[in-house]
Amino acid sequence: MAISTTARSTYTLTLSFLPMAVALTLSGGAQQSPKQPEGQKLFLSRCSHCHGANGQGGSADPQPLAGTLSAKELASFIKKSMPSGPKKCPPEDADKIAAYIYDAFFSPLAQERIRPARMKLVHLTVRQFKNAVSDLVTGYHSAIPYVETHGLHAEYFKSRSRDAKNRAIDRIDPEVRFDFGTDGPAKEQFDPRNFSIVWQGSIFAPDSGEYEFSIHSRHSVQLWINGSRYPVVDGEVRSAGDPDPHGTVNLLGGISYGVYMVFTKATQGVDDTNKKNAKPVEPSFVTLNWRRPKHVLEPVPTQFLYKDYSAKSFVPSTPFPPDDRSMGYERGDGVSKEWDDATTAAALEAAEYVTKNLSEVSGIPDNDPNRDKRLRDYCSDFLKRAFRHPISDDLKATYIDKQFRAAATPEAAVKRVVVLALKSPRFLFREIGDRKDPFTVASQLSFGLWDTIPDPELIRAATTGELSNKDSVVAQATRLANDHRAWSKLRDFLLLWLKVDEVPDITKNPKEFPEFSSAVASDLRTSLELFLENTAWSKSSDYRDFFQSDTQFLNGRLSKIYGASLPPDSSFQQVPLDPDRRAGVITHPYLLSRFAYLDSSSPIHRGLLVLRNLLGRVLSPPPASFVPLGATARPDLTTRERVALQTKPEFCNNCHSIINPLGYTLESFDAIGRIRDKDHGKPVDASGTYRSKTGTLVQLAGAQDLAKYLATSDDAHSAFISKLFVHVAKQPPLAYGPTILSELQQSFAKNQYSIRRLLVDSVVATAIPSTTAMPSTRSAKL
């Protein structure tokens, strides 16, 4: 029987009842532990014969039980209408049955909960969209492979003019941070009144956003970023007492941009100096500073500098609504008006750039006799790269020929093609399903590791059919994983893993921690990022080093606070820090400060970080409301004692007995992550415990024990692997088969816990089925 109502949403619901005397069938029972066991029992005995044990429908009534009625409405429907004979279900039973089926499978929420994992059609994430558009418009970004030495290519000239014959020094400078005094770059070799320097190479932008550059110098300085026509920083002409010249530029995270910087110490204009009567030599200095998003002004650290010059690239600036994170990772799920508006605005922005710089981006001179034909070829190539597949004649007719016919000028035609291509579902949506098509494999690799469209080498490999062979897929993935763009993706993941992906404002009580400032917080974040890069992007790339390293990266400012011995103006360098008390990232002062209060440590926040993010555990619900106990209320207690007292009631303790003992192991560190032996005048107790997923109770004597456990335990490894996998795949792991994560865990151990290998194995698993042989035939694509 069916009913329909005229409530806000119309629905049809079919329920049927059989006579009561039906045997109890428990096979394939609905849920492991239903919230309404009585209701389940009643449902299974009286309703499941027709409706199926999970309400999926049965032979008598194949319609699945699902709808938008509330539990009460459902109960009243059952009372009135079920079963179909004259004798209706007793009201009490109907309430129980309704409560059970509503929660187990009827409600939209329950339907969502029991839906099996599958690969969904998703659109490009914001990052993927912007990277892809940038790559499409200005060709492929220069690849920057992994390098050991950082810095800019420097040329020092013995005059204001930068002729090769005047070049005295040619080298790599790790940073641009010099105090030449009154001697010049090298005594005797240079006239200290008259020399110039050029630095060039690339600068790696770790995050998307506005970057401010500023050059600390009293002399003539200019800086160009990303092939800008005008200098981003222009201090060619200097007045006495003027501030350091500065300028801002928008950059995309994960991309390296070309840098060209000139320093000149000489009289600008006509050189009429009379050397004999010259004034004393003025001392000179130069430092290249930046303020990256949410950081303070600092000298650009060497890790962000490369000697090779990157070609100019288009930086889309259209603001986008952020991606869906409701599953804990960014993915392109669902479409919204704001997203659609942003893609339109970005398509127009890109089209504008292409048409304004047409000869430059297409390589076709305006006076080329074959311009129309060549521009059509350019458009065809543009479409092929945008759609990540060869372009059929049909598509060419719609997307190119028709547009050239409709437009008055070739520029207008190209503009139409670009807008149409970037608004096309073939560009906006990720390819799904068919993992046998080599072009789809190329896209999986490229989006998985670089968050962008395949590069020319991948397209070549797809075209020749190489990607039908698993070894070639692995080789291509390994090539991509060695590039800086893969590091950028991995870096984002590591910050997410440690729950510091959003840059927090860390502030501390100035009375208790007068030495802690926003500059220190910014330095600490840089220090953490250097630690992560040095560990994950090193040759061995060993996961265990996250927790086993006894060094940290400090500069002069941090060294003073955390008790290392560096000169006050030191740049960041790797130094041993409390090797018998600290252990790797979990004792990094940035995390310890982040997961702490204004003036005290927080075992709960630290414990949650370890439990959820590093050990991958999920907690059951706590009571809805609580009033916390302030630190000032019980000054006689240590933080540990106070937290224990606050969370003592049984309804708190269910979870806090798991959270707190992990957080306690970090109690030897205060609110800014310095070592402490006493808290509120009493000795610190940093002992803790953890019960693993398999039930083993682990005793932890302190931070180093915790770190050791995180380095070696299955719980920590599986958390790391599953989180990294979804970051790469942007689809649920189960959609790739039930064993994918355990297979990755096995190979992780086999490969000496190499993170880079894990990255390659993960992306290969998303690109090709794990065991079946791959046929080389091409098949239908999106």
Partner: protein
């Protein structure tokens, strides 16, 4: 806020060339739609982390009451203010109280399962229903007499650039959160941006739709939904372009001061810019419904301009016994109240285009929050402070409704627009109908 005197001045200052002129002339407004009807409007303004009950709720009930410290800025509008205590968010299910606090606030329905975890509670995803602002918008947009260019506008101030349950209050439907625009320049572009590329866009849309249909036939049944939604958006874009062409600007284009950055210390400036843009969008009748979201649920703005260095969320956890913290939280809520009062003032001093009264006579502001109180995370006594005469509620009163589900208030808002729904959100909380004693 200044206004350009002439269109030419505007063009010059915007750096636009003469070729854009015909398109700027087509900037939209709805000066001729619904001319004879009253333009009812709704603004829902959100501030986070609960309030301090003792300094927020008036002690007296009825029309004789004193405004407590947190509400003092509303003194000039006291006779246009209605304070509702005893309205509670009774929706339960997945998610912590901050998540449900904001996610169920305007939807009145449970969150979907997801795996975003809050302060120790079960993970949750997006809301499973539409929010009341969007419900009312859809109602108004269905009728040609009340239809406007955007229907609704979603404003924000320093909303983190992060789509999760804590940052989203408005939903176009289940699993359809709407991102507020917290960049005034982006909002300006949306309201007044040039339409120069729209003609070209429109002419390629047919080709795009044709190809969308082809692609749709090539994907599995389960994945067609997202492509259908995409197709709908393409159609809407076409309608927007057509609508924009038939309308005249109707009011002076505001000038907004340039270069205000999206950072913590600029919150007062951002707030003012956004409020001014909101009022100006109402003058042009670009929308009848607006939401205005300060930061997010668990918002941790540092009120440095009030001399408060700590983040709001951290402070809101301090117990009642910490008097300094409670005093700071009172001042923070007083600051939010000042923003409500500034909005009310701007509406009150802006006459309706038809000469009948002011914008505030036809607008209802609803100021709300995801929690009743920060340190207990309670969802009882959710703050609902109403200002303005848009829905003809009887103002100038302080009421205690006594633990009623907030779904009933949401229904009352819809009824105020003549949209007589019998349930909104979880039907179990709607049985008793709209709230009594409002009109």
């Amino acid at each position: 806020m200044n206004y350009f005197k002439t269109r030419r001045e505007f063009l010059r200052d915007m750096g636009l060339c003469a070729s854009v002129l015909p398109f700027v002339a087509n900037l939209p407004s709805l000066s001729f739609s619904g001319k004879s009807l009253r333009k009812q409007r709704l603004i829902i303004l959100f501030s986070p982390d609960g309030v301090v009950p003792s300094t927020f709720w008036p002690s007296a009930v009825g029309s004789e009451f004193e405004l407590p410290p947190s509400l003092k800025p509303l003194e000039p509008f006291k006779n246009k203010t209605l304070i509702l205590r005893g309205v509670s968010d009774r929706v339960r299910g997945d998610g912590d109280n901050h998540m449900r606090g904001i996610g169920c606030l305007l939807t009145g329905i449970e969150l979907y399962p997801g795996n975003v975890q809050g302060g120790g509670d079960t993970p949750a995803g997006w809301s499973s229903g539409i929010s009341i602002d969007q419900e009312i918008k859809a109602f108004l947009q269905k009728n040609p007499n009340t239809r406007t260019r955007f229907g609704s506008l979603e404003f924000g101030v320093m909303v983190p650039d992060h789509a999760d349950t804590w940052t989203r209050m408005c939903y176009a439907g289940p699993n359809k959160p709407i991102a507020p625009i917290d960049d005034p320049y982006q909002m300006f572009g949306k309201l007044y941006g040039q339409a120069k590329d729209q003609e070209m866009l429109k002419s390629v849309l047919d080709d795009l739709r044709e190809d969308l249909a082809k692609v749709r036939s090539q994907v599995g049944v389960k994945d067609r939904k997202i492509l259908d939604e995409h197709t709908t958006l393409v159609r809407e874009m076409e309608q927007d372009i057509r609508a924009a062409r038939t309308r005249d600007v109707g009011h002076a284009i505001p000038v907004i001061s340039p270069g205000v950055k999206r950072d913590n210390d600029s919150i007062p400036k951002l707030s003012k810019l956004q409020i001014d843009l909101l009022v100006s969008s109402f003058v042009g009748d670009a929308a009848r419904v607006a939401t205005f979201q300060f930061t997010n649920s668990v918002g941790d703005a540092r009120f440095t301009w009030l001399g408060i260095p700590e983040g709001q969320h951290g402070l809101s956890h301090e117990p009642d016994s910490n008097k300094t913290a409670q005093e700071k939280l009172t001042r923070i809520n007083e600051w939010y109240c000042q923003q409500v009062a500034y909005l009310a003032k701007r509406l009150a001093e802006t006459p309706e285009a038809d000469g009948h009264g002011t914008l505030l006579d036809n607008t209802l502001i609803v100021w709300t929050n995801e929690l009743g109180q920060g340190n207990s995370h309670t969802l009882e006594d959710i703050p609902f402070v109403l200002v303005g005469n848009g829905l003809d509620f009887k103002m100038g009163r302080s009421l205690n409704m006594g633990h009623v589900p907030h779904n009933r208030l949401l229904m009352s808002l819809a009824h105020g627009f003549g949209h007589r729904i019998s349930r909104f959100g979880n039907a179990d909380f709607c049985a008793a109908g709209t709230l009594p004693n409002l009109t």
